[in-house]
């Protein structure tokens, strides 16, 4: 069988994912995680004099801390099975990817196991974040130099 044909057959046989249900679950759980994040933000704004814009940093760190607790007790995976992108897209999902890889490879040692594998799952996010930030910065720098836009 040709590769094309196989691909066609595979598409016909694979059941369609329940699009609406999945999107609704992702929306609800993702929204809920961000609402919890908003409560954390408010906490930093009120008690530590952060502004709406600067509160993002401590909020993200706190959310990652929550992710560590949930991941450690094996609960984040259960949320993920229900929510799909709803728990993967928030920064807690990034935290879960890093932390679960670290815990999983602990038995291979701290340096080669934890150190070598901690970014196994989340590395692509860091890579593409940094590279895209570089090119966006470069393009904007060129555009400003040419006088097309201003900072």
């Amino acid at each position: 069988m040709e590769k094309e044909q196989y691909h066609q057959l595979e598409q016909n046989v694979t059941p369609k994912p329940p699009y609406f249900k999945n999107v609704a679950k992702a929306f609800f759980v993702g929204g809920l995680i961000c609402t919890i994040g908003q409560a954390v933000s408010l906490f930093y704004i009120i008690f530590f004099n952060f502004t709406e814009e600067t509160a993002g940093n401590p909020t993200v760190a706190t959310m990652v801390f929550f992710a560590m607790i949930l991941t450690g007790f094996g609960l984040y995976k259960k949320i993920g099975q229900f929510a799909g992108a709803g728990s993967a897209v928030p920064v807690t999902g990034f935290g879960n990817a890093v932390i679960s890889a670290a815990i999983e490879h602990r038995s291979e040692g701290l340096v080669l196991g934890v150190g070598g594998n901690i970014f196994k799952l989340a590395g692509s996010v860091v890579l593409f974040g940094v590279v895209s930030a570089f090119f966006v910065g470069l393009i904007k720098y060129i555009l400003v130099t040419l006088g097309v836009v201003s900072w």
Binding site: G56, N57, V64, V125, S132, K140
Partner: protein, 121 residues
């Protein structure tokens, strides 16, 4: 005050719903989906659109992974404005990224504290 929570819920929910659509309809793996969203966040900040979104939706914009691309770009642009081209590189991690440092530190602590539970997908 209450409205910020509503906007955080809606905007955060929409970004996650877009992620779900990329996975289901676009047939992307979770890794491809997250990488795509990070790149989108970086581009939006380059066009000056992410900051207004944060002002509008608070954690609805700072908690999804798109904010990671935004804060990397934000640092790069701020430093490029002050020091020129080299600032694009030196400024990148200036604003960022409590997300990365927190994930590394808590990942290390987590590895010391917890036993594996088959968490890796």
């Amino acid at each position: 005050m209450v409205m910020t929570f509503v906007f955080a819920f809606i905007v955060g929910g929409i970004i996650c719903a877009i992620g779900q659509l990329l996975m289901d309809v676009g047939k992307l793996t979770p890794g491809h989906t997250l990488s795509t969203l990070v790149v989108i966040g970086a581009i939006l900040d380059g066009m000056g659109l992410y900051e207004p979104l944060i002002n509008f939706a608070g954690a609805g914009a700072t908690v999804p992974i798109t904010s990671f691309g935004n804060s990397l770009t934000h640092g790069a642009l701020a430093e490029a404005e002050r020091h020129g081209l080299v600032g694009v590189l030196t400024g990148m991690f200036e604003v960022t990224s409590s997300g990365i440092s927190a994930a590394i530190v808590f990942g290390f602590i987590g590895a010391l504290l917890f036993k594996p539970k088959g968490n890796v997908d």
